[in-house]
Symmetry: C2
Subunit: 319 residues, 2 copies
Amino acid sequence: MKIKLQQAADVLQQADDILVLSHKSPDGDTLGSASALCTALQRLGKHVRFACSDPIVPKYENLFAQLKPEEFEPKFIVAVDIADTQLLGEETEQFKDSIDLAIDHHMSHKEYAKMSYVDGTAASTTQIIYELFCMMGVSIDKQIANCLYTGLCTDTGCFRYSNTSATTLRIAASLMDAGADAAEINRIMFDTKSRARLNVERLAMESIAFYENGRFDIMEITEEMMTQSGATEGDIEGLAALPRQVEGVLIAATLREKKTGGYKISVRATPPYDASAICAQFGGGGHKGAAGCVIEDEKENVKKKLAEAVSGYFRSQGI
Amino acid sequence: MKIKLQQAADVLQQADDILVLSHKSPDGDTLGSASALCTALQRLGKHVRFACSDPIVPKYENLFAQLKPEEFEPKFIVAVDIADTQLLGEETEQFKDSIDLAIDHHMSHKEYAKMSYVDGTAASTTQIIYELFCMMGVSIDKQIANCLYTGLCTDTGCFRYSNTSATTLRIAASLMDAGADAAEINRIMFDTKSRARLNVERLAMESIAFYENGRFDIMEITEEMMTQSGATEGDIEGLAALPRQVEGVLIAATLREKKTGGYKISVRATPPYDASAICAQFGGGGHKGAAGCVIEDEKENVKKKLAEAVSGYFRSQGI
């Protein structure tokens, strides 16, 4: 059942023994939302605990610094930033049919909770949690401000992407007023890369090949590059954005070699072009700006198929 | 003479035949400030023209799209974002002793104008121009909002750096309300790199060498790399930030080979460490976060000298 944010505020005020869930491979928004909610609800005197199928990487550990560990059988389960119960992962999928409240900002949200509040116009789920806290009269201290700011900045590429609204910036300003360590959080989230990332990025950059007079390019991330650089999946997060950044490129594809053979393809497009139109041809999908698909073939064939698809797409667009 | 912003508003209201100057090698803030000021003053019916010693690179051309070209002998000269008349450059240094009003946000501002308004706490000069426009009752339309937003976002690394205040974010929000194409400007300023930049970045990354158990690193930008990649000075803007981003690095140095021999060194430090303490040992200076110096020696000697200086500094800090 879809509910209003004020109703979500009301049910949370009445709930106790609350379990808050983040999605698997947790990012700054799902963790910022969960940690803010857990910390705020504990301060209201409630019993609260947190669960996630995957471990929290060190850069996000501080978010949970003021959360007291508690053990109890949950009576109320909240899912934050989880668009689909498939994203719960192994450890928490046991809760998939008993989630009481879902708070999310994904347009693609598949209703699974007893009550859902979804605002697809919010830049991040923490933006919604901020508004929820205002309704609940939660006092936003430095720790909670840091949690909410982390979700805001990570989901907007530090206020760079088109999901950033004037409201997003004003909430970020209020969080700074409340003591958020914005510059320090930004440094950790945006100005830090592992040595493995540095190396895999360099190797991937070297692989970039241009097509269609420089309007389409393909970057490779092979298993050999991963081994050579010592990179893990976490190290290549966001790397698919790189080939689209090259001047003149309208569509970019990144080929990620699968361990089992074949390639996972990430396509990015400069407005007004449509990445999902390319991926749809290979049974994939996504948004205009970013889409994905899988092609089970040898590398050179994969590149040929993509180049042909993009060439056809460009012709259909009259370019 | 130092004046209040209201006085700057008053003198601008009375002035006419106004020449607005930007600093040489113009960036988004000096051009955003100048274009906003010129456009707004022309809309008030004044005669206004703009001058800069260096050409405007294509990504900033749109800022001046609504400025009507005019010819006149200036009666009032305004310098924006210019900390020192040495930054005027060849074409405009003729005006250095006749500048009526300077508006700037550099702490290091050397007073040279008849009247100066300097606010070192402002993230950008466009932040001051915004406040000036509010005092002058200038209506901020889409074009002026785009000019002001460009200065705000470029000088703060898209609201990433510690100069970003809650006020900066609220002004950015107001500019979005006024129609600023924030996402599009951010894409052009932050998500676009030339092929030459891509190549020189890759070569420079390859050169990174680590010292002091990975707490200090050195990156090279040689003349050979510049030639091989086809990069110009504009293509290596901001590249010195890269070696500091590597996980575990507390101090990073970038060596830029000078055409005449010797090296220009850019040092970056992670808080609380001090880049200027390193550069001071070689007759240079700067801020805690970023400093510079010149060392006239062979490359290997330069690297050795820097590694020794950083080692001594680390010992003095007890690490």
